[in-house]
Structure formats: C-alpha cells, structure tokens
C-alpha cells in the first residue's frame, strides 16, 4: 500500500512536471489560411468575331467573414453575338493565389457549373465534358439575344459539388434537380445586352 502511494505520488509529480513544461512551451500556434475556399470567381466572355470582352467577377477576401463579396460587371454584352466563356476559380487567401479551376477540371465528374439566365438575355451551351460525357461548365458558349433596345437581366453562376448529373435536365444546364452542395454562387445583376 505504502509503495503504491509512493508510486502514485511519483506519477503525479512526473505528470505535473510534464504539464508545467507543456505550459512553458507557450509559443503561439501558426495561422491557418483556408486551403480550399474559393474567394474569387471570374467568368471572361470573349466575342467570337472580336470586340470587347465582358468580365463577371466576384471576390470575397474574408471568406466566411462579415465583409460581403465585391461583385463587378465590366460592361454590357453586344446583341446577337456569340461569346466564349471561360470560368476561373481562385483562392486568394493563399500567396500566391491557388488556382482551384484545375481541381474542378481534374474532378470533373463531381463538379458542374450552372448558368441561370433571366429575362431571355441569351442561351448558354456547354463546350466541355467529363469522362462520362456530361458537362463540367468551365468552357461555355453564350449566345446573346437579338435586340434593338437595351435589355437588363441576371446571370447566376453556381458551382455544385457532387451534383446528380443524371437527373432530369441537369446535363442541359438546369440546376433544379441537381442536388449536391454549393461551393460558390453569385448572381450578377443587372447584366445588360444592347
């Protein structure tokens, strides 16, 4: 019994020493920069026959922090014009910025970008496909309507992780039945075609 109590005391003392030395080692932990946050999404629309490109961009440099994203629309689209759209995702919390587009491309089976256009501003068709032959949506064509006067509408761009690409309408770009998890979503408004 006595030897046991001695053992216990020894254990305790050792432990306190260990605990205290842990405490002395009071160096602050390193920061964590969010690795796979998409801070920035840019869609660059280049007209097929030459002309002014249009850039839609959203940037939220504090991630889930309180500051709202900064949304910019570089200018109006031209009427009855075919644009090629290229989507880029960046994580600008890392230095240098991490290009997440490549990951989305590499894991195309699990990702799809959806474009929801209101007020019949134009139609979006997918130019790329994953290994199953379904669209990914990083490379698209945007055909604007033929209009004499300026028309305003919205374009919502959504990146879904693990959507059900086989559900009705999904491979045609309809998000309604896609399911999955939203990685980034922004509504650009107003977008003008003139």
């Amino acid at each position: 019994m006595k030897s046991f109590l001695k053992l216990l005391t020894l254990l305790l003392i050792t432990n306190l020493i260990v605990s205290c030395s842990n405490d002395d080692d009071n160096t602050p932990p390193p920061p964590v920069n969010e690795e796979e946050v998409i801070t920035t999404m840019t869609i660059t629309f280049t007209p097929a026959g030459g002309g002014t490109a249009v850039e839609l961009k959203t940037q939220d440099l504090d991630g889930d922090g309180p500051n709202p994203p900064v949304v910019t629309i570089s200018g109006p689209f031209a009427s009855n014009t075919t644009y090629t759209g290229a989507v880029e995702f960046l994580n600008e919390l890392e230095d240098p910025a991490e290009d997440i587009t490549e990951e989305v491309q590499a894991e195309g089976l699990e990702h799809q970008v959806f474009f929801t256009v209101t007020n019949s501003l134009g139609t979006v068709t997918y130019n790329d496909m994953d290994t199953d032959g379904n669209p990914i949506g990083l490379d698209i064509t945007f055909q604007t309507i033929d209009t004499g006067t300026a028309v305003d509408g919205d374009i919502t761009v959504t990146l879904r992780h693990e959507p059900n690409k086989d559900a009705a309408g999904v491979s045609d770009g309809d998000i309604t039945n896609a399911g999955g998890e939203t990685d980034i979503e922004e509504t650009f408004t107003p977008v003008t075609v003139e």
């Binding site: 922090g65 990951e103 959806f114 059900n164």
Partner: protein, 800 residues
Amino acid sequence: MKHCIATIAVFIFGFSAIGQTCKLNLSGKIQDFHNGEPIVNATIYNKTTDSYTTSDLEGNFNINDLCKGIYQLSISHISCETKVVEIDLQDDLYKVVYLEHHVEELETVNVEGASVSKETDTGQETIIRKDYIDNNSSASLGDVIKQVSGVSSINTGNEIVKPVINGLHSSRIVILNNGVRLENQEWGIEHAPNIDINSANSISVIKGSSALAYSSDAIGGTIILEPKNIAIIDTLFGKTIMGYQSNGRGFNVNSSLAKNFDSGWYLNGNLGYKQNGDLKAPDYYLNNTGAQNLSGSFQSGYKSFEKGFEVYFSYIDSELGILSSSHIGNTADLVNAINSDEPLINEPFSYDINAPKQDVSHLLAKARGYMRFKSFGKVTFQYDYQNNHRYEFDKRVGNDRDKAAVDLRLQTHSVKGDVKVDKLGRYLINFGLSGRFQDNFANPDTGVRRLIPDYTKYDLGAYFILKANISEQFIGDFGVRYDLNHIDAYKYYYISRWEERGYDDDFSDIIIDEVGIQYLTNPVFTYNNFAVSTGLLFDINENHDIKFNYSLSSRPPNPSELFSDGLHHSAARIELGDLRLGKETSNRFGLSYLFNNNKFNITLDSYFNRVNDFIFLKPIGTEETNRGAFPVWEYTKTDANLIGLDANIDYYLNKAISFNVKTSYIYGQNLDEDLPLIDMPSFRLDTAVSYSKKEWNAFNASLNYVFVAEQNRYPDYNFETYIPTTDSYELVDISTPPPAYNLFNFQADMTFNVFKKSKLNVLARVDNIFNTSYREYLNRLRYFADDTGRNITIQLQLNY
C-alpha cells in the same frame, strides 16, 4: 450499530500447549471500526470446548481457562464480512477487535445481484441497472438513459446521441465514468459522449447539480457510470453478448471476464466491437449512416476493507458516418432539403463510411488508492489522464480529399483527494480537493481555420458535504463547492470579424500579432464558481416519502460559446461566439413525491430551474458570402425558466402482469424576450405492459407504446432567403417542429441453463413495429430525412 447483531465465532487452531497450565485469560472488546462504538450482544463461540460467550453492553468479552497457543479468531457479522484475527496467547491478553459496519456503502456484495447505492439522498436520482444495460448492449449512452422519465436526447442522426436532462444538454451535463469526469469536447450538439455503456454495471442519472463531490457546473444533471463492485472471494466469471440488428444490418459483440481472489486482488476487462451499415427510414436508406465502434476496458487492483488501490484503463474508438444529404453548401441548398420530402441523395445499402464523418478516440487511464482510519473514515486519492482525439472529415476536393477538416486533441490530467468521515454517528462528512489541467491542440495541418482554438485550462475545486440522519424520518444534506476556472487561449480572428464584433474597443490589448488578414489574440479568462446544494428527505411512513432539494450552480462559457466564428456547414449558418459572455447561474428547486406499496411504485419529480444569463444561440441577421447569404447565429444570454414534471408509475396487477407509465413535460421560457426556449423536448408518454413467468425459463415479454407530442412552444426563427436560380424569395422554415408521432415496440426474452454453470439469455426485440415514418424535433437531421424505420434485434447473452 444497535440494530446490528454481531456474532463472533472463535476457532482455535494449532493447539501446541500440551501439559501447560491452562489458566490464561483472553478478554477484549468488540468495537465498530468507524466510530469506535461497542458492539453489543455479540456471541463468542469456542469451537474446541464447544462453549459460548457474549459481549456485554460495553462490547466486552471474556474467555477463561485457555492454554498457551495460537488462536485464530474468525469473527463474522450478519450482513457484514467475516474477519479472522490470529492471536498468539502466551499470557493473559486484552484485545480490541474492530468490526466493520457498513455505514454508507456496501463494499462487499455477492457476485450476483450486486447492490447499487445512490449518490444522493435528497436529489432526484434514478438508477439504471445492469440487466437493462445488457438488454441494450448495442445502444448508446444517450439512448439507454432515455429510460428515465425527464431524460431525452438531442441527436444528429441515430449514432450521435447526446443526453438531455430536463431540457439541458452538452456542457450542462457532467458524465462520470468510474469516478472520472469525462472530458471530450462535449460542447457541440454533434459531439456525442465517447463512452461505452458495456463497461458499466449501473448508470445513475441525477437531475440538477446536487452531486457536488464531482462538479459545480452540472446545471442540467450528472450521469454516473459505475463498474461492478468487487467481491473479495475467489471467483472467475464472464459474459458474452452477441446481437444482430436488422436495420442497418448491424452486429455487436461484447465480452467481459473477471477474476477475483479472496486475498483481495482482482482483475477484469471487457472488449467490444459493433458495426452497422446504412440505416433505413421506412421509405429509403439513410445513406452514409454506417458506424464502427471498438471499445475495451481493463481494471485491476487490490481491495480490502482498510485499504486498496486500483488502476483502470478504457479506450473507445468510434467512426461515425453522417447522413450524406445533410451536407449542404448554402441556404438555398437548405431550402431545397427542407422542401423535399425525401433526401436528395438516395442510394442502395452500403457498409461504407464516407465523408462527412467523424472519427473519435478516447483514452482514459486512472489510478486510485484509499485507506481507512479507525474512528475516522476513508481517504481516497485519485489521478486520471484522458486523451480525446477528434477528427471530422468533410467532402473536400483535390489534395485535401482525405484530410480531416477538424483535428482536435484534448488532453486532461486530474487529481483528486477525497475524505469521508463516518465516525460521527448520524453525521457523514465528505470533503475534498480537486485539480485539473487541460490542453487543447488544434492541428493547423487541416487547412481549415480552427473551429476551437488552442488553449490551456486550469480548474481548482474544493467541496464540503454534510449528510445528517436527523431522525428516523428525516435525512438532510448540505453541500458547498467552489471552483476556479482559468482559460488561456490563442485565437486567430479575421480582422473584419474582429471589427464587426466590436472587439477593437473592448479587447484591443489581447492582440499579439497581425498575420495577413488575421489577428492573433491571446484571450485569458478566469471564472469563480460557487455552488450550494441542500435538501431534506422526509420518510413519512413506509409508503410515502417526500424529497426537497435546492441547488445553486454556475457554469462558465465553454470554448465554443466564447470563440466560435465561422460557417457551420450542416446547419448552413454562421455561428459567432462572444468573448464578453460570463458564466450562467442556476437556481434549481426540486420537489419529489415517492409512493411505494406492494401494488404501486410511484415517483413524481417536479422542478423549477431559473437560469440567469443562460447562454444560447440566437439568429441576428444575415451575411453575404460568395456562396450566397447565410443567417448569422450568435451566442447570447437571457434569463430563462425551466419548469417541469416527470412521472414514473409502476403497477403490479399480479405476479405475472405489470404496467409502467412514464411521462414528462417541460416548460422553457426565454424571459428577456418573452419567447419559448428553443430545442425543448416535447410532451412524452411512454407506457408498457409486461408479462413474466419464471417457470417458462424466466420468460419476460413487454409491449411498449410511446407517444411524442408536437412541440407547440418554439421560437419562430424562420427567415426568407433569395434563391437566385428561381429569382425568388423563399421562406426557410427551420423552426416549425415536426408533427406528433406514435411508436410501438415489443421485447421478449428467456433464460436457459446451459453447460454446467452457465446461463444463456435469448432476447428478441422489434422497435417501431409498424414501420412508422416520423421526424423528431430534437434530431438535427429532421430537415433532411425521416427517422429510422422498423428494427428487429436478436441478442444472445451467455453468462459463465
């Protein structure tokens, strides 16, 4: 002492005194070990001469005309332990013999039917016994203690089950496993207690904070898991339980083995494994709800009445899948999930566990020693160490795919010294000191900002408890406890968040560095907690008892309430802690009535719990991110009332048929805003009719009906959100509770004698007989899917 009839038998061995004068005198006194009081009217039996003598009113005895020699006195005591004393008689001798009289705990019990004593006299305490635990061997702690009326659970699916006692859960409940306070990051709703019920022999549920020997912050209650009492006899026994569950195609096996020696040494251990695949709601599989669980414990030591020590280890590792369809990215996804009748992911059955999932291990090591001192009491010293390692895996992409999103390691060292003084007759005094050091390490390699920051924490506690057997009819108790908590954390804040919280005004002095867009801060807080518990048990007559208990307790804010600042994925909301939060304080009054006769057994527990500065999450607005708008929920405080009644009624119609009714109702009110409190359990009625027939191999059957009402008292935290894909605003109905539901369950078991000394118990159970679709208000996955459907369990239990 006066009620105890002591018998002292004296056996004489080794008669070596041939031819000597047999005129020696052996006299002495029989005294109570605890308080030195004489043991009256003891009978002393001399086997050789076949003669008797008895101790007188002072406990004195006298044996004349003995020869020289060695005498072994074997002293037995009805309902107490036999004591053997060896005496080498060379001359006249006066000897005081101490006998132990069990004042507060039955230290020696039979191997079978081990007795269990309550922790409190005046508290609202219920004990769940081993047979119930064994019958539910594959269940979680949270599900098992729902057996107690007034206890429910808050769930994330079926595997993550947190106990709720009288409406309170998480940090407001203290769980003790073999005398060790469980430290396992218990703050979050999706953090289930890391504990295996199979190592427990009894589970005691104490409502409110009356168990001051353990903590001062158990505002909701204390759950105490106790291992089997060790018998000081030569014995070897074991048990194996195997079960199969149809829902989830699960199986479980648990085996335990114990060896005791009459010298007082003992060792025992148990090992268990269980696994299940995707559970099934009546209409679909709940994808990714599989689970795996490995657990074991080992206990060894030496035990005697006067001294003893013990070492104890337990380990548990759980891997738990979380319903795939509950992982959502933004508010629009949540709206989709709520508006959809079925989960958006619907795949066939699988045992695979994919992200999102949790992998949590918990190691506990404990050493304890005690000594009893004559005419004083018992002194116990304990050291324990716990290592809790929690990984949470999210759906991630690229190189981070298999990397945990949360990686927290919480290590805790505790020491405790406890003194029980039992020499004072009607009074029992218990006091002690405890100290705890805790270190939380949040691994930065996750590539995700820390959910809980790195911190170290110290706690120092001191308590004093007095129990008084005032008269035959009254028992009173009074306890005080003081705890000092000190927390020292390193926490990174986004500068934008720091300013939004207004911390730049109040806490600018704790910033120690600026790294990119973040501040590194060093919050240090100290809290003083004072607790009181006092009560009275009035034993009116053999049928009626009344208990009253008052307790004051306080709880400092936990790390989640202080430091949270980020998106909670599965809830699709931003949760913000508040460094300004102080401790919450509870004043709880409990009044119980107990009735007992040969037909009825009734317990009514009523309570009024006023919690000042009650900490809870409340929506305060929305914030835009590039995933859309998220509601922001902030930890804030209010004064709250929790008032309720729990009832348990047993009625024995005859030897075979009995009825049981359990019901509970709680009224929770947020007084500052005059709103109902969120997440309060709804009215519940649980009835059972049982039939037992001993002659048919101890046949038991019971049919159980459960009614759970819709919770009509809830705060309306619904809000509208813009859905860009449909260009419309939709209501996000996160508040409306699901409708009432009815469930029927059936269970039957029989016990057979097998082999020579073994018993085999065969049990079959059907839960949710009619495969009813329902959702439970306190299940966080109710937005996404129905609860589980019918489940058939077959279980074999072999005792050997």
